[in-house]
Structure formats: structure tokens, C-alpha cells
């Protein structure tokens, strides 16, 4: 294997993140140090965490010297569960990243016709998918371990754990590589056998797949809580010793916690063999299917009958209606856009899983009012924000079509905004219905929550669209960006502020109702009844909507005038 080839291929992947709209592209010069900033930051945070842990340990040991032993044991069991944690996390992350790579075939194909062996190609691909969060988190963990360990005399376990964490990330990424290739092949077979239904099979199939992964993801990251999870991992991985993915963790566990060095050594050796096996499997799959192209999806056959469309009757010009229909197809056919529909579902499911998971029964009444408001407002709001952010950027490199067509800023904003509002309201209706069934709120709660949901959708949709236009990023390799990261962050904060502003009239009401449940003796007069509050919040929402619709129009004019790609 030629390591130089592997390194060069990885560099291509890393550098594909460079294209940012509006950035100077001639005489490009890379600052070596800045190019790797996420890892430097991770390193700094890791060192800081290690030092903090030291401080905590110091004060701990000073106050209660007898507990030092149990502290060490605790640290060791955390060490031993880290590899498994990293495997799960990196696997989910790299897999999601793969999914979002979309159908864009540019750039990434070059290596296939270079004199590069499949082994080099596969290794580079596995390592390159670790760039970004997985690698940064591994660096962070390793740095923290190494800084912290000398203090409690756990240098060897810490170094071993750091290495195991790197190996775990590689293991996860190699698994993703195997999945990726199999999935391409499998999808090809499905297209062939489902024929014209392929579009829908793919849509529903992808949604289900994402759903499962996101549920696991949220469960891992937010669901059970990280501390809980480490305990669970530590206890579960011994029971699941036959699953190769926990072998790295077991190697640490047996070597350092229970002192059975020989067993530890065995697990280490089989882990290494497993990783090598995964790599060989990925290589041979790549060799067989790496160049496989799924067959064409045939959507229609036979007589061509143009639609007259009901959008026209709703007052849309033929241009606007065409844009809306096109976007509808984009969101049902482009995999990276389908993911959007997952979030509302997750957002309803996660609190449900949590309340049902911990107590096994329906939540209490007081909580149910908030949960109702949550299911009405939150998914629809998220949908409006995401659609608003992506609606322009999703055009990608094909955006020249918009620029070169006789589309005015008014038509563009009108059709995009309509799409955002329509789909967010559909989500509002669905999640509202689900919330109503589950939490059985009062009629008043339902009416007010629905109205507030509508206000939020209109206002946050307009706000997010204005940012989505201003910060549009049409880059498509290695994955469609759709919006600059900084803009989407700013937008999120702005939406938070706007959301709070719209709901502000309810704050006195919420305060008094919360206080009265906790202190029933205290009777606080409600000085703003909910319907008046709704009316005031409607006014705030309308003002925000009008302002940001105007801002969107101006941004769209600017976008069409500059016509940058």
C-alpha cells in the first residue's frame, strides 16, 4: 500500500470543504494552521477538561481521602466504556454524513480513474469520513485522558484507552464504508424490481431508515442522559461480549479493571483482527461494487399530459406554480432533503419516549399543558426554520436556471414562502392531532396552541427565508450546504428571540398558573386572559412577518442581481 496516495486522497476530501460562496477563489492560499482549527480547538478543550478533572479530583481527595480508591475505579470504568461510546457515536455520525452526500457525483469520482489501488482508495475513504466531528471528538477525549491520568497513576490505561478510542472511530467508519457500498448496490436492486414505484419506495424507505437512526442518535445523545449511558454501556458491554464492536472496550475492561490481563489481551487481538477484517471486507466490496451505478429511475411512461394544476386557481402565476411543483419533487426525491421530514416526528417521539420510558405511564396534568404546547409549536417551528433556511440553497449549482429565467424577486419569494408555510402548517396539523390524542388537552388549549402555531410558522418562516436567501450556499461537494453555517446559527438565535417575542403575552399567564400549582394558597389574579394574549401575540407575529417578508424580497432582488453561484 502506498501511504502517500492514501494521504493525498484524504487531502482531496478535506479540501472539498473549502468552497464557500463569495470567498475569493483566485490566488488561493491555505493557512496550514487555520485549516485544522477544529482539531486544535478540540485539543485545547480536551486539555482544559483534563485539567478541570484534575482540580475536581484534588479537592475530592483533600476532603475525603478514603474515596480515592472508588474514584479510580470509576475513572477506569469510564475509560473502558469510551471505545464503545465512540463506536456508536462515530458510526451514526459517519452514516448520516454519507446519507447527506446526495446524488452529486462531481469531484469525488476522480480517484476511480487514477492509478490507485482499491485498498488505498478504501482506506482513504474510511479515514476521510472521520474528518470533522468524529476526529475532533477523539482528539478531545484522548487529550483529556492523557492530561488527567498521570495524576491518579493511570497513565498506561489512559494511553491504551486513547489508542482504543482511535481504533473505535476507525472501526465505526469502516462499518459505514461497508454499509455505504452495500446500500448503493441494494438500492439499485430495489429500483430494478419496483420499477415506477421506485421514487416512493425510496422516499418511504429513506424516511424509515433515518427515523430509526435518529431515534438511536437522540436516545444516545440526549435521551437517556450521558452519565446514565456510560453506566449502561459499562454493564451492557460485558453481557454483549459476542458483539465485535464492544471488544475494544472489553480489552480495556479486562486488562485494567478486573486484572485478567490474558483475557484483555485476547480481546485486543480479536479487536485488531476484526478491524482488519472490516477493512478487507470494505475493500473487496469496493472492488466489486465501487463503480456500480444504480439503474435509472423511470418515473413515467406513455402519454405526456401536462397538468393544469390547482395552484393556478389559488392565484399563482404559471411561473410560481412551476417553482412550487418543482420544489415538491425536490423534497420527495432528493435524499438529503427528505431528512427534513424526520425532525418533526423525532421531536414528538423523544419526549414521549422519555416520559413513557422513565415512568411507564402518561405524564401528569400540569406537565401535559406544556407538552401540548410543545407538540403544537415546536415541530412546526423547526419545520419553518429548516425549510426557510434551505429553500433557496437547495437549488444548488442548478440555481443558474433561476437566474437565467424570467423570474422576478416577487415570484421567487412568493413561491418559496408558500412552500415553507404550506408544509409547516401540514406538520402543525399532524403533530397537533397527535398531541391532542396523546395529551387530551382542553378545547381552549387546542385553539390557542393552534393559533400560536400558525403565528409562529408565518413569522419564523419569513425570518428564516430572509436569512436563507442572504446566506445561501450553493456548494454541492462533498454534500449540499444550502446555507452558510454562520448564517444558520444567527438565524437560530433570531428565531429564538422572535419566538419568545410572539409568545411573550403568555408569560404572565404561565407564571401565575405555575405559581398557583406549586403554591395553591397564593391566589394570583390573572391580569391577561389567554384570548387577549393570543390577540396581542397575533399583532406581534403579523408585524414580524411583514418586516421579514420585505427583507426577503430585498435579499432576493440582490440575489438575482448578483447572480452568484
Amino acid at each position: 500500500m502506498n501511504w502517500k496516495n492514501v494521504l493525498s486522497l484524504m487531502q482531496v476530501d478535506r479540501k472539498s470543504g473549502r468552497l464557500i460562496r463569495g470567498q475569493k477563489v483566485t490566488r488561493y492560499h491555505e493557512n496550514r494552521f487555520l485549516a485544522y482549527w477544529p482539531y486544535w480547538v478540540a485539543l485545547a478543550i480536551g486539555v482544559a477538561v483534563g485539567l478541570l478533572a484534575r482540580l475536581a479530583y484534588n479537592s475530592f481527595a483533600a476532603t475525603d481521602p478514603s474515596s480515592v480508591g472508588s474514584f479510580r475505579d470509576g475513572a477506569l470504568s469510564v475509560f473502558a466504556s469510551l471505545p464503545t461510546l465512540v463506536v456508536i457515536y462515530s458510526f451514526i455520525f459517519t452514516l448520516l454524513q454519507q446519507v447527506q452526500r446526495s446524488g452529486v457525483r462531481a469531484a469525488s469520482q476522480v480517484p476511480y480513474w487514477l492509478p490507485v489501488t482499491w485498498q488505498e482508495h478504501t482506506l482513504a475513504s474510511i479515514l476521510a469520513s472521520l474528518f470533522g466531528l468524529p476526529l475532533a471528538s477523539v482528539v478531545l477525549i484522548a487529550a483529556a485522558l492523557v492530561v488527567f491520568s498521570p495524576f491518579i497513576g493511570l497513565v498506561v490505561p489512559a494511553v491504551a484507552a486513547s489508542l482504543a478510542v482511535f481504533a473505535a472511530a476507525f472501526m465505526a467508519s469502516a462499518t459505514t464504508e461497508v454499509f455505504r457500498i452495500l446500500q448503493v448496490r441494494f438500492i439499485g436492486a430495489v429500483y430494478k424490481s419496483t420499477g415506477r414505484a421506485a421514487v416512493w419506495v425510496r422516499f418511504v424507505g429513506s424516511l424509515l431508515l433515518f427515523l430509526v437512526f435518529y431515534i438511536i442518535y437522540f436516545y444516545v445523545i440526549y435521551g437517556a442522559g450521558a452519565v446514565n449511558f456510560i453506566q449502561t454501556v459499562a454493564s451492557v458491554q460485558s453481557a454483549a461480549w459476542f458483539v465485535p464492536f464492544v471488544w475494544l472496550g472489553l480489552a480495556l475492561l479486562y486488562s485494567f479493571t478486573s486484572g485478567e490481563l490474558l483475557v484483555g489481551l485476547v480481546f485486543m487481538v480479536v479487536s485488531i483482527l476484526f478491524i482488519v477484517g472490516l477493512f478487507l471486507l470494505a475493500t473487496s466490496l469496493n472492488r466489486r461494487f465501487g463503480l456500480y451505478e444504480p439503474p435509472a429511475i423511470t418515473v413515467s411512461r406513455g402519454v405526456y399530459a401536462p397538468k393544469t394544476g390547482m395552484l393556478g386557481r389559488l392565484g399563482f402565476s404559471s411561473t410560481e406554480a412551476a417553482l412550487i411543483r418543482k420544489d415538491l419533487k425536490a423534497f420527495t426525491r432528493r435524499r438529503e432533503l427528505m431528512t427534513i421530514f424526520i425532525f418533526p416526528i423525532i421531536i414528538i417521539l423523544v419526549p414521549l419516549i422519555q416520559t413513557l420510558g422513565t415512568t411507564g405511564q402518561a405524564p401528569p396534568i400540569e406537565a401535559s399543558a406544556y407538552l401540548t404546547a410543545f407538540t403544537f409549536l415546536f415541530p412546526a417551528a423547526i419545520m419553518a426554520i429548516m425549510l426557510g433556511n434551505f429553500m433557496i440553497g437547495e437549488e444548488g449549482q442548478a440555481v443558474w436556471r433561476i437566474y437565467a429565467s424570467p423570474i422576478s424577486a416577487r415570484s421567487l419569494v412568493k413561491s418559496k414562502y408558500f412552500f415553507i408555510v404550506l408544509f409547516s402548517l401540514i406538520i402543525l396539523a399532524i403533530t397537533g392531532a397527535v398531541g391532542t390524542i396523546i395529551y387530551q388537552p382542553s378545547l381552549r388549549s387546542i385553539i390557542i396552541s393552534s393559533l400560536e402555531g400558525v403565528f409562529i410558522v408565518f413569522a419564523l418562516g419569513a425570518l428564516s427565508l430572509s436569512n436563507g436567501i442572504g446566506g445561501a450556499d450553493f456548494t454541492e461537494t462533498p454534500r449540499p450546504r444550502m446555507i452558510r453555517q454562520s448564517t444558520s446559527l444567527i438565524n437560530l438565535i433570531a428565531c429564538l428571540v422572535a419566538g419568545v417575542a410572539i409568545l411573550a403575552p403568555f408569560i404572565p399567564y404561565m407564571l401565575s398558573s405555575t405559581l398557583s400549582t406549586f403554591m395553591p394558597s397564593l391566589s394570583i389574579p390573572v391580569f391577561l386572559d389567554p384570548y387577549t394574549a393570543t390577540a396581542i401575540s397575533a399583532v406581534i407575529a403579523i408585524v414580524l412577518t411583514v418586516i421579514f417578508y420585505r427583507v426577503s424580497l430585498n435579499s432576493a432582488r440582490e440575489l438575482l442581481r448578483k447572480a452568484e453561484i
Partner: protein, 257 residues
């Protein structure tokens, strides 16, 4: 309408940071003319064509297209123009027919007219049978055909074609060539950049040769021959001589060392 001005550029300059892409370009193209824009890679052809479409804003100078200022009234201009960019990216998640349908609607075509034209064009460019497939599965040439059809579909008054013949098979290139000549008879103006010199020589009324953002030469074949002092030569020799790249022999020999 022959003789009326279709496109007029006056003192147009466009720079990308330190690169001067188009340098003080003056050019007038008449209605009903087929105008060929030639020039080595990076000489500013695509930039010029994009500026005509309003896709790139010139740093200075003025551009009038069909009597309208592109910067002031872009939508009105775009309605009358059909444009094919170089290596066009289409909406790959649409099928060929859905894409053309979308284009028809964007230009506000009537349903019946749209349907009959789409069917005719698909037949002419031999895309029948594949129109229901997603564009992702098309070859480059097929994508180029879809891009061309979408420029012709709404019967524009002006065609702006950036290397329209690239990736096309000989038969389709021939169809485009004959089609442009038919359109010319109907008073349609066409501006195209191309590297296919035989076709440029055969169909272009006038040819402009660009080099480093400037117009080196402008005129019909006869005038170009006079200008280059190559009375009996074809366009290839004239092109090579004018752009100073004539001495290719020495270069090839250098490469073979």
C-alpha cells in the same frame, strides 16, 4: 426587422480580482444575425455571454439587449432570450419531460403549445423513450440536448448559446446548425461561442475572435481573411494566426522531448 440592433455592448469591463476577464469590449450585433464568438480558453467568452444575460454584472460600460437595459429590466430581457450555459447543471431529480414542462411553465407557455413542442423536440433530438427517466441517468450529450431544447422551447427572439455543440453527436450538431439557420430566416438572433470552427465558418454571418478579454478581430469570413492576410485559408489558420498561437509545431516538439 433586419438591420435593427439586437445586442449592444459599450466599453464593457469585468474583472475578477486581479484577472481582467473582459477588457473594454465594444460590440454590436444585428437582429437576425448568427454571431460566432471564438477565442482560446479563458479569453472571456463565457463572461461576455453571462453579462448579456445579466448573470454577471459588468464593472463598467453599458449593455443593451433587444432595446432593454439588462440591469434595469432583467425579467423582460430574460423572457425574450433562450440561454444555454457551458456545461449546464439541470435539476437532476426531475425527468427530462418534467424539466421541459417546468421550463414551459416558467416562460408562461400555453398547455397545448407546450405539449406539442416538447413532443416535437424530444423526437427531433432522439430522446423519445428516455423522457420519463430522471435526468441523473442521462449522458452528458443527452443533458446538453435537454438544455438546448429548454432554450428553444419558448421561441425566443435571441439565443445565447455557450458552446452549445459540446458533447453533441454529429447528427444533433447538424440539427442545431440547420435549426439555427431556419430561425435566422424568421428573424431570430443567435450568439454562440464555440470551438467547432467548421460549423462557425459554415453558419455564422460574422465572427468575433476574443483574446485576453479583448476583441482581436471582427467580421465575416472575407474580412477576417483580409485582416489576417491569409487570403485562401480556413477559419482554423486565421484563428491560430490572430491569437498568436500559430506556431504549434515548436510546442509539440518541446512536449515530445
Amino acid at each position: 426587422m433586419l438591420g435593427a440592433v439586437a445586442v449592444e455592448l459599450k466599453g464593457v469591463v469585468k474583472r475578477y480580482h486581479e484577472i481582467l476577464a473582459v477588457n473594454q469590449l465594444d460590440l454590436t450585433i444585428n437582429t437576425g444575425e448568427i454571431f460566432g464568438l471564438l477565442g482560446p480558453n479563458g479569453s472571456g467568452k463565457s463572461t461576455t455571454l453571462k453579462m448579456l444575460m445579466g448573470l454577471v454584472t459588468p464593472d463598467s460600460g453599458s449593455i443593451t439587449v433587444l432595446g432593454k437595459d439588462v440591469q434595469k429590466d432583467p425579467v423582460a430581457v430574460k423572457k425574450l432570450v433562450g440561454y444555454v450555459p457551458e456545461s449546464p447543471r439541470l435539476y437532476e431529480f426531475l425527468t427530462g419531460i418534467e424539466y421541459l414542462d417546468f421550463i414551459g411553465d416558467i416562460y408562461g407557455m400555453q398547455t397545448e403549445e407546450k405539449k406539442s413542442r416538447i413532443t416535437e423536440y424530444l423526437k427531433a433530438f432522439q430522446l423519445e423513450g428516455r423522457e420519463g427517466d430522471m435526468i441523473t441517468s442521462y449522458s452528458d450529450g443527452m443533458k446538453q440536448k435537454i438544455a438546448l431544447i429548454s432554450a428553444f422551447l419558448h421561441r425566443p427572439k435571441l439565443l445565447i448559446l455557450d458552446e452549445p455543440l459540446s458533447a453533441l453527436d454529429p447528427r444533433s450538431a447538424r440539427i442545431v446548425k440547420d435549426f439555427l439557420q431556419e430561425l435566422k430566416a424568421q428573424g431570430v438572433t443567435a450568439i454562440m461561442s464555440t470551438h467547432v470552427l467548421e460549423i462557425a465558418q459554415a453558419i455564422c454571418d460574422r465572427i468575433g475572435i476574443m483574446y485576453q478579454g479583448k476583441l482581436l478581430a471582427l467580421g465575416n469570413m472575407k474580412e477576417l481573411r483580409q485582416m489576417s492576410k491569409l487570403p485562401d485559408s480556413g477559419l482554423e489558420d486565421i484563428f491560430l494566426k490572430l491569437t498568436g498561437t500559430g506556431d504549434t509545431r515548436a510546442i509539440v516538439e518541446e512536449l515530445l522531448k
